[in-house]
């Protein structure tokens, strides 16, 4: 590579640019938490002049995180990362490959006093002990001799030189995953009443539905409550149908999504579904009692053939007086009698004893000689499902692993060479140790001190 790099290259390889870009992204993210986004922005429209609102809307201020600005900044950051890494990778590679010959006077220049000591052992004995120590701690030790001196060296942690590049690569993968997700991803939701089948979902943030190439049926929904009435767990028994045939079924619980044909289904919410079933009892004066399960629209003949009755409505809670069913009885002469049947009719009568006089249609015995009573409603739920397809997720997951792996490499390891020099001096041996690294100087000095102490100890005990 030529020494003189182009202006563009040095612009994009600069860390100053990186700092500015990161700060800008942080700033935009901050604005997004202060200015209402997406649906919430609609309230702002009423308080602002329409011209200003539409200007800000065009500038994508109300959807900052999906705006061109954000794409642009992420794109620039990606370019910055690529160029900066390409710019520095050769250096890291050279450092990785650099031969660290044991013989190096340079490494022992200006050595602090505490990095050497004199041992009474002979040169060869001391060198053996030092080599064994290096072998034990670093699994590698090289030896060189020069005159009356022995030089030893060991290396460790060279791979951590690439930690930074792994971290930066992970950010590129992350940006790629996020872009794939926002371009090809689908976010939607659907509510399914128990027993029903759907084949489309509602897109989030858009007034549009998305047809599925399969259909989903909810066979059953169950909710378990704590004593306080708070939900403990809830789940839906789902069946996925392809071309009308059952292709997959499973229980969908909160925190345990199901996946079918690239779509992930999440249990998000639930609620009572309108139009549940009711259990009605009808008593003929002093005579037989019939119990039947009914739903809205059902019609029956009365047991004594006095006419037919039809269920017009099933209400969970009518006028705060509890469950009620609206019934119409039609006589053979086509006269229609309509009235409500309350489940808690006894309590209602206790509170207002003359309710039947005031509101005749609340009298469940309006059609003689029958009296209707409502034994209960069968609770029916709908299950609220979040449905997503995000082809970027595997990329983002890979990025997360790379990011954590790279950070661990940076944190727990650093490239270093330690050297021991042994010089024979009038029957004694002068032992010196030095370390060389690109960072963590204080950690390295501690390690060198530890090596010296260990060697001293080994030499003394071997005597």
């Amino acid at each position: 590579m030529s020494k003189k790099k182009s202006v563009i290259w040095s612009f994009f390889s600069s860390v100053k640019l990186a700092i500015v870009l990161i700060a800008l992204i942080a700033f935009f993210a901050l604005i997004g938490t202060l200015v209402p986004q997406r649906e919430a922005a609609a309230q702002l429209a009423e308080k602002m002049s329409p011209a200003l609102f539409s200007f800000l809307h065009k500038m994508q201020i109300f959807d900052l995180y999906h705006s061109l600005w954000f794409f642009l900044l992420s794109g620039l950051l990606a370019v910055n990362l690529v160029i900066c890494s390409l710019d520095r990778l050769p250096l890291a590679w050279r450092r990785f490959q650099r031969k660290q010959p044991p013989y190096s006077e340079e490494a022992f220049r200006n050595l602090p006093e505490e990095n050497q000591f004199e041992a009474s052992a002979g040169l060869e004995e001391a060198a053996k002990a030092a080599e064994a120590l290096l072998q034990k701690r670093y699994r590698n030790a090289k030896r060189e001799e020069s005159g009356d001196a022995v030089y030893l060296a060991a290396q460790k942690g060279r791979f951590s030189l690439f930690g930074v590049y792994i971290v930066h690569l992970s950010l590129l993968v992350l940006i790629a995953g996020a872009i794939v997700g926002s371009v090809f991803g689908i976010e939607g939701y659907v509510n399914i009443t128990e027993g029903e089948t759907v084949n489309a979902i509602q897109l989030r943030g858009e007034n549009r539905s998305w047809p599925l190439s399969f259909s989903v049926r909810c066979d059953k929904f169950t909710v378990e409550l704590y004593e306080s009435g708070m939900p403990k767990t809830f789940q839906s028994d789902l069946v996925f149908l392809k071309d009308g045939r059952k292709a997959f079924e499973g229980k969908l619980r909160v925190n345990h999504p199901l996946e079918f044909e690239g779509f992930r289904f999440y249990q998000a919410s639930y609620g009572p579904a309108p139009g549940g079933k009711a259990t009605l009892a009808l008593v003929r004066d002093g005579g037989r009692r019939d119990v039947m399960n009914v739903a809205q629209g059902y019609a029956f003949d009365l047991p004594g053939k006095e006419g037919t009755f039809q269920v017009l409505r099933v209400e969970e809670n009518l006028m705060k007086m509890g469950p009620a069913v609206k019934v119409a009885v039609t006589s053979p002469r086509r006269e229609e009698t309509v009235f409500w049947v309350f489940q808690q009719i006894d309590e209602i009568k206790k509170i207002s004893p003359d309710i039947f006089e005031q509101v005749p249609v609340f009298n469940p015995g309006l059609f003689r000689p029958y009296t209707f009573s409502l034994l209960g409603l069968e609770e029916k739920y709908y299950t609220g499902l979040q449905v997503n397809r995000d082809p970027g997720t595997p990329l983002v997951a890979a990025a997360a692993l790379l990011l954590i792996g790279g950070l661990m490499l940076i944190l727990f390891s650093y490239a270093r060479t330690v050297r021991i020099r042994l010089v024979s001096r009038s029957g004694q041996t002068l032992i010196a140790a030095a370390g060389q690294s690109y960072k963590n100087a204080s950690g390295l000095q501690k390690e060198v001190q530890y090596l010296l102490a260990e060697l001293k100890n080994n030499l003394e005990t071997s005597k």
Partner: protein, 281 residues
């Protein structure tokens, strides 16, 4: 409940430890320092016991979750990690002068947990979305990160104090004299910021995994998520400014304070904004 009683005692114990650290710094006698360390250790031990009791009680009540599930428990855990981290540092560095900056923060958090209106100290069952092991690892890693940032912040304040004090004061005033050298404060502050950065990264990742399982998307730009990203980016800037641009000392101290502010807003401030994480209130 016994655990909240212990915890209110712990609040006072931390305050006492702070006062002893202060005595040491002003009087310059190591006796006070030793007393402060013992007091802080006693507080930490009592708090550990209280957390364990709380954990066990939740199982006895039939909910069975780690004591990390609501705002009160998060505050208590926050204070616990700060004191733990500080005592580890004191032990490793054989230096007690940081305590006078860290212990008051732990005390304030504990006091806030017990007196702030709307902080609920009861043990409560978890709504289904929170019943996940990812929640435990998410809260754990986030608060380890927060604790490291808090210590970095304390060191930042310490640095600015040392820098503003005249060289005259450095010789005469015991308080200033006992502080570590500017070089050492700077090194320590950076180490704490790096530690916090790594834990915050883990916190954001585990949070995303949890969101992926619970809400169907690993990232939804909810204000708490966004602010944690902002905090993360601020510390990323701090790292690069030091490693590549060679920033040291005062600028690093200011970055540590700004980062701490962002972290605090992530933790407390966003509750003013509508959020998925609003269970924390």
């Amino acid at each position: 409940m016994i655990n909240t009683t212990i915890l209110s005692w712990v609040t006072f114990i931390y305050f006492a430890a702070f006062v002893f650290y202060l005595f040491r710094m002003v009087l310059g006698r190591e006796f006070w320092g030793k007393l402060a360390t013992v007091t802080a250790l006693a507080g930490l031990a009592a708090q550990t016991v209280a957390l364990a009791i709380r954990w066990k009680t939740s199982y006895d009540l039939g909910f069975g979750h780690a004591p990390l599930s609501n705002f009160y428990e998060s505050l208590i855990f926050f204070a616990w990690t700060i004191v733990l981290l500080y005592l580890l540092m004191e032990w490793r560095l054989k230096n007690r002068s940081i305590g006078v900056f860290v212990l008051p923060i732990a005390f304030l958090i504990m006091a806030y947990a017990s007196i702030a209106p709307g902080v609920n100290s009861r043990i409560e069952p978890l709504i289904p979305a929170l019943q996940s092991n990812w929640l435990t690892s998410h809260v754990l890693t986030c608060f380890l990160g927060y604790a490291a940032f808090t210590v970095a912040f304390a060191l930042g304040i310490m640095f600015l104090l040392k820098r503003t004090a005249s060289s005259e004061a450095a010789r005469t005033k015991t308080f200033i004299r006992l502080l570590p050298s500017e070089y050492h404060i700077d090194e320590l502050m950076y180490s704490c910021a790096v530690l916090g950065f790594i834990f915050l990264t883990l916190g954001i990742v585990t949070g995303s995994v949890w969101a992926h399982y619970a809400w169907g998307s690993y990232w939804s730009w909810d204000p708490k998520e966004t602010w944690s990203l902002i905090t993360w980016l601020v510390y990323a800037v701090m790292l690069h400014a030091r490693l590549v641009r060679g920033w040291r000392g005062r600028r690093m101290a200011i970055m540590a304070i700004v980062g701490f502010g962002c972290m605090l807003f992530t933790y407390l401030g966003v509750n003013l904004l509508p959020s998925l994480h609003s269970y924390m209130v």
